[in-house]
């Protein structure tokens, strides 16, 4: 991918340190992490379990504050914002796609999207169908998560993360419970959505098979982020 004009920065993390646990069981989850992600960029982060990938998403997603260093999303410095302000900020600016099945069991696919629209004070006339259509799920709009397959749930989850027009999408192990064909479909979908909507996407994954669809791949080892030795 070649960038003629530098795209605006969606996420900027500088010198972030984060320790988890306390006392003897203290571990360094993030060790002096620096990361810039441009709007529209699709970044993958790989690394062994326990290396700090989820911690990085938590810090980038305004869920936990680093012990030191700074985080800014869409140019907004997060340090110093209250919990309430952070929640409102997440609602408007950050989309989350969690591991499979993190939809609300009681809500149909369309209602999952409507709820986010309501929470973020979106228009009353909101129609979830176009977004569901774009992830190929319009025909399942009235089905609850229990009636959807793993891949279908992830698609609805991606549509839900895009409802409020967030410019930063954080995706944690989206293919953990999917077969290979489904995994490729979901990752292709993420790549397309981030390109079309100019959304910066950070995907944490174990799955080296799917990295081909990503613009950039970084590896996390013991809390340190670096370019990987080899990319599949």
């Amino acid at each position: 991918m070649t960038l003629q004009t530098p795209a605006p920065t969606a996420l900027s993390i500088r010198n972030a340190m984060l320790e988890m646990g306390d006392g003897d069981s203290k571990v360094i989850a993030l060790d002096n992490v620096n990361l810039e992600v441009a709007a529209g960029e699709f970044l993958a982060i790989v690394g062994p379990s326990g290396s700090g990938k989820s911690s990085l998403l938590a810090v980038a997603g305004a869920l936990s504050a680093p012990d030191s260093g700074s985080v800014s999303v869409n140019g907004q410095e997060l340090a110093g914002l209250s919990q309430g302000k952070l929640a409102a900020f997440r609602l408007a600016n950050i989309g989350f796609v969690f591991q499979s099945g993190n939809l609300i069991p009681a809500l149909s696919a369309a209602d999952q999207l409507r709820l986010v629209n309501k929470l973020s004070g979106g228009p009353r006339s909101f129609d979830p169908l176009p977004l569901l259509e774009s992830v190929g799920m319009a025909h399942r709009a009235s089905n609850r998560p229990g009636q959807l397959s793993g891949g279908e749930r992830q698609r609805v989850g991606i549509a839900r993360a895009l409802v409020s027009g967030a410019k930063l999408l954080l995706v944690d192990e989206p293919t953990a419970s999917l077969d290979r064909a489904r995994s490729h479909e979901v990752v292709e979908l993420l790549a397309r959505e981030s390109r079309e909507h100019g959304v910066a996407t950070i995907m944490v994954t174990h799955d080296h098979e799917v990295l081909g669809a990503c613009d950039r791949v970084l590896e996390m080892v013991d809390g340190k982020l670096s370019a990987p030795v080899s990319v599949a």
């Binding site: 997603g61 900020f89 591991q99 069991p105 809500l107």
Partner: protein
């Protein structure tokens, strides 16, 4: 309430199960409330319908059964008539009697001896008022036992005969038996033990030297608050306002206290059941709440949603239970003292809902303690 309503529909089985318990509690509440009111009517309706402000018992009378135990004399009556704010004071005789009708029906009555023409003389719904020396005016509830105008009842053991000449306007029962009003003089004849077999006669009454009665019934001037303690000191009595005097009727305090204790327990059970249900429900939803909070839903929104859900369930199922309870109440057998009164039922219903909501609130509050970080990284 977007989420609350959809969750109610989604988990309707679980909510109906808990709602069923709430509805049953509400049914029990209506039953107990009806029973309470019924017992109160049965116990003291004879007093309740009296236009008296207070009753004065002889000093030192034990409170339970004080009406039939107390003995007051003319001196005490005269003192009461001099008290400031007293419009009228009259002697009243109270005693229990076992009687038998001509057809052999055994009838238990409470005899209220009152002076005809005074404020204690009861209003009647049919027949004649008090006056004839052998005439009694009885509660209309006695009709259920076959009593009609002209029925002659014989007092057991002394064989004195009295005739029913009228029925009171309202139900008049005292200590769970029907009240029979009779002229004070006739009551005194019976109470003195000098009554002879057959109907009482003028000759017997004029020969009687017996002027005591059970209590002094006092009527205050409109809007006047009597100083009972001061009056008691002067008259040598111990007096109680009408409502407080209910406790002096047989069994009244024991019955009402038992029932209100059962009601207290039901309120506590309701709060616990609802609290336990919403605790489990909230724990089951822990992960989805973490997801919602990670996405940016405020704790306030989720709390309001949870409470609204609890309120809908509580109000809905309490209403179902209330309707069922009222339906059941309408078909209660006559022999059961049961009276549906709006005020106590409304109070019981409101308390069921409020205590249930308090239970739910304590459970739902844990929504605000769920860490949005739980949404990340799978099942950790």
């Amino acid at each position: 309430m977007f989420l609350a309503l959809r969750e109610l529909r989604f988990a309707r089985g679980r909510f109906t199960l808990m709602g069923g318990v709430i509805a049953l509690i509400a049914v029990l509440m209506v039953m107990l409330s009806g029973l309470s009111s019924g017992l109160v009517n049965d116990g003291v309706s004879g007093l309740k319908s009296m236009p008296a402000t207070a009753f004065a018992f002889d000093e030192g009378t034990k409170t339970d059964n004080a009406f039939s135990r107390s003995v007051i004399d003319d001196q005490q009556l005269a003192e009461w008539r001099t008290i400031d704010g007293v419009a009228a004071a009259e002697k009243m005789g109270v005693s229990m009697a076992n009687t038998t009708a001509e057809d052999g029906t055994q009838l238990d009555v409470t005899l209220f001896g009152v002076e005809p023409g005074t404020f204690l003389d009861p209003a009647i719904s049919s027949g004649a008022g008090l006056g004839a020396i052998d005439g009694i005016v009885v509660s209309p509830t006695m009709k259920a036992e076959g009593v009609e105008l002209g029925t002659v009842v014989t007092l057991d053991r002394i064989d004195t005969k009295l005739t029913v000449i009228g029925f009171t306007e309202n139900q008049a029962t005292f200590g769970h038996v029907d009240v029979a009003y009779l002229p004070l003089h006739t009551w005194q004849l019976i109470a003195s033990g000098q009554a002879l077999p057959g109907a009482p006669t003028e000759a017997q009454l004029s020969a009687l030297d017996f002027s005591t009665a059970s209590v002094v019934a006092v009527q205050a001037n409109d809007g006047v608050k009597l100083d009972l303690a001061a009056a008691d000191a002067i008259a040598g009595t111990s007096s109680q306002l009408l409502k407080a005097a209910f406790n002096a009727s047989p069994g009244y305090e024991a019955e009402t206290m038992t029932l209100s204790m059962i009601q207290m327990f039901l309120y506590a059970i309701c709060a616990l059941v609802v609290g336990a249900f919403f605790t489990v429900w909230t724990i089951q939803r822990k992960h989805e709440i973490a997801v919602l909070r990670a996405m940016g839903a405020s704790a306030g929104y989720l709390l309001r949603d949870g409470l609204a859900q609890a309120a809908i369930v509580l109000i809905g199922f309490t209403a179902v239970g209330l309707a069922a309870g009222l339906g059941l109440g309408a078909i209660m057998p006559d022999a059961m003292p049961f009276a549906l009164e709006a005020a106590p039922i409304a109070t019981a219903t409101a308390l069921t809902i409020i205590l249930g909501l308090m239970g739910a609130a304590i459970a739902v509050i844990r929504i605000s303690k769920i860490d949005p970080l739980n949404a990340l990284g799978g099942q950790r």
